[in-house]
């Protein structure tokens, strides 16, 4: 068979291998290999570390619960005795203004099974950003035991004084039946707290979050306490 002379201008038919090489997926083989490898590696890291991170997240709340419910002295005493409160998380859903709000509630009981109190996680708008609080109730839900600020970005030096123990202590032993009020300069009424100088809005925000949570949760928590008592 005689071979047709190749015309100089005639394009040479690309071979199968050539065509394959020009495919952009083949060109990107390194990207694909790396993606495969890194994807697997990341999943490995995730499986290894995820439980630890989850534990960190819950611990952040759990370590504070004894202090909120019992106060720091009693909590320390308990810890010295090598005992700890048993904490059990619940969720409580409240219907309000066509919106369903879900609270995380921690039920804390003494090692002997006696109810020590309730802690609710609640958050709301502060002066600068979201404020996240833990609010402690007595077993009968008629009194607050204290609050703790989990997360805030208030102005340093002014609004961020809401994290100080001095200011937070005002909330312990307040009655839950009526809303807490913020005053400037000397709280006289039983249900009043002093505003931080120069940070009235931050103080009001915290109080507002507490009032909201109390209003929402007093009913459900009382019901839960009663159910437990029976």
């Amino acid at each position: 068979m005689s071979m047709k002379p190749l015309h100089p201008m005639e394009p040479i038919e690309p071979g199968k291998l050539e065509r394959l090489k020009r495919n952009y997926l083949v060109q990107a083989w390194l990207v694909l290999m790396l993606a495969l490898f890194f994807g697997a590696a990341l999943a490995g890291v995730h499986l290894e570390l995820a439980p630890k991170i989850a534990a960190n997240k819950t611990n952040e709340t759990y370590v504070k619960i004894p202090e909120i419910i019992l106060g720091s002295e009693l909590a320390e005493e308990l810890a010295q005795q090598g005992e700890a409160l048993i904490v059990e998380p619940h969720t409580v859903a409240v219907e309000k203004e066509q919106r369903r709000i879900v609270y995380t509630i921690y039920e804390a009981s003494y090692p002997d099974g006696k109810l020590a109190g309730w802690v609710a996680k609640s958050s709301g708008q502060g002066y600068a950003d979201k404020i996240e609080l833990l609010i402690g109730f007595t077993p009968s839900v008629d009194t607050l035991t204290g609050i703790f600020v989990l997360d805030q970005k208030e102005t340093p030096g002014l609004g961020n004084k809401i994290i100080t123990l001095d200011w937070r202590q005002q909330f312990s032993n307040l009655k839950t039946l009526q809303p807490i009020e913020v005053t400037k300069g000397g709280a006289s009424d039983p249900n009043q707290v002093d505003a931080i100088t120069g940070a009235t809005i931050s103080s009001r925000s915290v109080t507002g979050i507490v009032n909201n949570a109390v209003a929402d949760l007093r009913g459900p928590l009382t019901a839960m306490a009663n159910a437990r008592g029976k």
Partner: protein, 303 residues
């Protein structure tokens, strides 16, 4: 559980990479813009500093202009001659012989030549003084506060006796002084020779008005344009056609220089050996600050 998560993660990544490369590959073909291959070659040859020194937005903009034939190949100051040669190679043109551009100060009035001066109490900057009327009689001439001197990175322009004077030994032709001058009396011209003839006045008013404000300013007598065809008058002021400027006109030019009643046509550029010899035994004048000092307290203008 473990293996499902791991393989699902890997599969997600690979799936994403595949989707991405297919979409981008498709887009590359679907949205294909026919780019002249020369544009890409020019972009590669340019330094890629995107400095805007060429007067275009960036290197790619300039590259397009070059390929479109709208811009000369020698505009890139960063790349210099080698870059121009490379672009010329791509475009298949020869680099036109390019002359070094150097600034010319179109004012010849030293401090004592200016008339009708007033005390100026403001900030000692041309840009500020230019906003105030009546600092000196001439509204075209050099103000002498040295904005150009501050703009120069090469220490090549100084205010000497109230007039900005270029030191052509040091000047590299960056054009910073021309940009800095608020009165736009510094222009960049091609230096075809070591020394070029220049009109040292920018005053466009009629002769009588010029005489009131300046001892040396151009009165628009047209003598130069009568003797030399390189001159043409624009608004009472002669301008030299530097495109045609060459040695053939030397005779006409020297005649025009002689005939100028205000001695406003001056050769500018690097000093000739004869000049250097003539002043070799004298000490050069020191740089003198502009003397527009206020008689009142320096701080007063702050209010």
């Amino acid at each position: 559980m473990i293996w499902v998560t791991v393989s699902l993660a890997a599969a997600t990544m690979v799936g994403m990479a595949v989707t991405m490369s297919y979409i981008l590959g498709w887009a590359n073909r679907a949205f294909h813009v026919d780019v002249d291959s020369r544009v890409e070659a020019v972009i590669d040859a340019l330094p890629g500093a995107n400095c805007g020194g060429c007067g275009y937005v960036g290197c790619s903009d300039y590259a397009e202009a070059v390929v479109a034939g709208k811009a000369p190949v020698s505009k890139c100051t960063v790349g210099g001659d080698s870059c121009a040669a490379a672009l010329a190679g791509i475009m298949g043109v020869e680099v036109a012989q390019s002359w070094p551009y150097r600034p010319i100060v179109h004012c010849g009035a030293h401090y004592d030549d200016r008339l009708d001066r007033a005390e100026y109490h403001g900030e000692k900057k041309c840009s500020a003084a230019n906003l105030v009327a009546g600092v000196q009689g001439c509204t075209y001439g050099c103000l002498g506060f040295g904005d150009c001197e501050r703009a120069c990175e090469f220490d090549a322009i100084h205010v000497i006796d109230g007039l900005a004077t270029v030191d052509y030994e040091k000047c590299v032709g960056c054009g910073a002084c021309a940009k800095a001058c608020p009165r736009n009396i510094i222009t960049m011209i091609p230096f075809k020779y070591e020394r070029m003839l220049a009109v040292t006045c920018s005053n466009k008013d009629i002769g009588d008005e010029v005489k009131v404000v300046c001892k040396v300013g151009c009165i628009g007598c047209r003598a130069c344009s009568r003797f030399c065809s390189l001159f043409h008058m624009e608004e009472n002021l002669p301008a030299i056609d530097y495109d045609k400027y060459c040695g053939d006109f030397m005779e006409e030019l020297s005649k025009a220089v002689q005939k100028c009643p205000r001695k406003g046509l001056v050769l500018m550029g690097k000093p000739s050996p004869r000049d250097q010899e003539a002043v070799s035994d004298k000490t050069l004048p020191r740089v003198i600050e502009a003397d527009f000092k206020t008689t009142v307290d320096d701080t007063e203008w702050w209010g």
